[in-house]
Symmetry: C2
Subunit: 587 residues, 2 copies
Amino acid sequence: MSTSEMEQHPAHSLAFVTDEEHGIRVPVTEIALDDSPSGEANRPLRVYRTSGPGSDPVVGLPPFRAAWIAERGDTEAYDGRERNLLDDGRSAVRRGAASEEWKGAKPVPLRAKRGQRVTQMHYARHGLVTPEMRFVALRENCDVELVRSEVAAGRAIIPSNINHPESEPMIIGKAFLVKINANIGNSAVTSSITEEVDKLQWATKWGADTVMDLSTGDDIHTTREWIVRNSPVPIGTVPIYQALEKVNGDAAKLTWDVFRDTVIEQCEQGVDYMTIHAGVLLRYVPLTADRVTGIVSRGGSIMAGWCLAHHQENFLYTHFDELCEIFAQYDVAFSLGDGLRPGSTADANDAAQFAELDTLAELTKRAWQYDVQVMVEGPGHIPFHLVRENVERQQELCDGAPFYTLGPLVTDVAPGYDHITSAIGATEIARYGTAMLCYVTPKEHLGLPDKDDVKTGVITYKIAAHAADLAKGHPGAHERDDALSRARFEFRWRDQFSLSLDPATAEAFHDETLPAEPAKTAHFCSMCGPKFCSMRISQDIRNEFGSKEAQEAIAGMASKSEEFIASGGKVYLPETISVGSPEPSAP
Amino acid sequence: MSTSEMEQHPAHSLAFVTDEEHGIRVPVTEIALDDSPSGEANRPLRVYRTSGPGSDPVVGLPPFRAAWIAERGDTEAYDGRERNLLDDGRSAVRRGAASEEWKGAKPVPLRAKRGQRVTQMHYARHGLVTPEMRFVALRENCDVELVRSEVAAGRAIIPSNINHPESEPMIIGKAFLVKINANIGNSAVTSSITEEVDKLQWATKWGADTVMDLSTGDDIHTTREWIVRNSPVPIGTVPIYQALEKVNGDAAKLTWDVFRDTVIEQCEQGVDYMTIHAGVLLRYVPLTADRVTGIVSRGGSIMAGWCLAHHQENFLYTHFDELCEIFAQYDVAFSLGDGLRPGSTADANDAAQFAELDTLAELTKRAWQYDVQVMVEGPGHIPFHLVRENVERQQELCDGAPFYTLGPLVTDVAPGYDHITSAIGATEIARYGTAMLCYVTPKEHLGLPDKDDVKTGVITYKIAAHAADLAKGHPGAHERDDALSRARFEFRWRDQFSLSLDPATAEAFHDETLPAEPAKTAHFCSMCGPKFCSMRISQDIRNEFGSKEAQEAIAGMASKSEEFIASGGKVYLPETISVGSPEPSAP
């Protein structure tokens, strides 16, 4: 991607919030502001930053968490699983290599020492405050004990695979800022490794808190290596996708061994959370037969296909405890997949969806027995009035485990605009406690997102997440809104741009109507023109009533208005009311 | 505009729903659908159509309501007000003409005969069912008595100036489909008459139910003439904008006489509803002094400026009954402007806003005494959790008069994306009873919308309005969603496109990934690729369980699952649970 595209806005700079005592530095974006017309200086605003320190794709990021992990002394390096070219698909086997092998440093995989658990939940439950928790507390501007206790209770997770030391700790839980995920990944049909790394950096530049690599084509292993080594945010995957590639796309050929091997492969690479469709039980499959859109989750239908082919229970369910034991050794978090989520508003909140949720609740509690962090995935397509029930039911059944939803879309009639149909549902579901929102791009249902779609999806979801933070009264959430509103009121156009989620677009739109540089400082805008300006009149009002005489003036008005009301509150003679009024008045 | 742009989608055609008995034909858009893969035919879907019969801009539309109006025998033609070049601004006076005089037929203005009232509310209250009401009932697919009674009660309006016989009757009220308005209009800074007519046709093509002409530059009168003569939807204006032009932009110079003359001018042209900022009372102005963004409504600040300059009560309030008498003679509806609406989430639901609402409620009831139709305007910028209170308070205070809101925007941080920030609030406020939503385009706060912005704004608001209709359980609202979902499930790509709000965009997005024509009928999509397809597996499930053997099969499953549960619902040996599990389990 061109550097100019990745360059940050001139008014934005990298700053750090630091915890000297524990030697922790959290990067934030500092937005410089102009002085007010009054001459009053405006302090710069610091905002949450997801883009990390920036990396050269072929080198990757520094493993800054490595020291923290080593200090705990509960992990060991080991040879790890042997590289298998089939991990990158049949064409890699033919070629004897992936199409673009990872050339950067190959970290030696770590795992928990025998009998140990290395999850943040494990530490939290034992009262240990980790550097990861301190990092999160600084980042969220909250007490570290809130972080520890929410993680211990399972109401929040800090996805942080010990083999992804490049990632900056972040927390997903309803007591914290609402997070968003961006999906990237190649497919059998299209796209390349560099494009995917590009999308990763692009997504985190605009505010993605986590990124899921949903690759389904060739070079899955190597694409993921490039992504993980370059990612400052947690990486999620759906391992069944790669497992399916290993059995040539035939769901019936899937086995626990192939799946387990794939999970180990991804644990060693550093995947932070994995979607596991263990709630798609054999007996739930028939419940989808009469749906308008059946099963639309790819993972869900893979497992349903497997269950039907073998008439056996879902092997992800029957082997769930083994998965817990594996995840506990790397601190991989479960993202319990909703394989039976509705694919249309017609199928919302139906028996299949809620039956699966009951099972996800059971599995949540089982994972907690292993100190494994868990979030639960949610839909999908839900009409607006049925959205709230989804999060309230999940929170109750799953004892507050973080909810992670895709939208939901509140109507099916707008393909091409599903970032919008879903942002409406996402704001509603986040308002009532959903902790992370998976973005939807304009290409949803139609094709694979390109870079513009990724940006549009991320910014649309930042809007939904932030609107929910405001609605929840999250401390400090309104600061950016208020700073931008003050800039708008004072015609500090440059500050309006730099405070906005997408400064370049805001400035470009402004310039389409008023390109001239002076217009950026002019005390009028294109809606009203130079001759008249509503903001100017408001300034006059403030000058008149915001001053120290304000109180007298307002008092004067008030008394005038009391006289007025005393006089009957009418400036009309009664007869004017009846003029030409032969008809009865309003019923 | 190029005809290709205005051409309708090949699968869309103009059809009519007719009431033979009363000779009424309501145009609808019929969407032809392909057969299902099963061979089953899919009946075409008929959807609400706002674009009218189509017109040649220089000729205008046929005055099809003229006969209905004449038959009532309560109106008279008259000379009308004399044309004054100043109506088109000083440059027109210099030139001796507007820049593009209207060349089409100039209808002779009508008004009510002396002592008569010609409003739909007047007829409804007297138990008369007008052709306008029958047209609306067909259009909404509801009982005409519901239309009459809601209009009689003031809970719905049918904006239909007797001097705009070209318009197709539509209804605004919470018992009916949620409507959307698109704002167009030139400004002192930019744009031309033909551009505005272009935008009108463009907005109604995409689904605008009404259009407001907010012109503030030159040629206001003539621009409006072109718009009204070509508009199949009701036209709204804010007459104070033109009045301000007539006094050279100096709010202090405004007088009741200038305003009254402007209102008559617009009544005679055929404006269907007018925004009147009569609720901005002198004593409320100081309440805005301490706001973050003061007064942002242009009309509100004009009147506030006038009140302060003269230290007198708002002349729109003091002359309100005269306005009612005028509106009753033409059937112009009030859109009571919320001049003190908040311009930032920080100012939401404050004393100034709610004080004005109290006055709007008083004025609503006074207008009803004259049988004048009324809707009440609402904000603006409101955090998500405070949105609902706005509509519930307005509905209670105003005895159910239709609420007409701008958004509201649920955050201030996304200039350039305010169509989205506001669609979120719009869906919420419409869900609880707002009858019409004023669109917000991506250019809001930044500049004037161009054609693309108008389209984006309209489609975004169709989404919000439709999502609210679904949430309200409006009869039939889900039909389009279900038809599209079925098409999606059956891989009827062409039907997915033609059923969507923006078929061309949906198809273009699809083709970016899979351009080949065969792909449109291929039983896979780009997300999964040809090798694996979740929808196909769902089809297999349906074939297996949707069949007549389904019940046995499902029953079989269920019994299996009961055994399974009976056996303790575990497929694990107890000890596997405790393995490596020295720690306490979840608290």
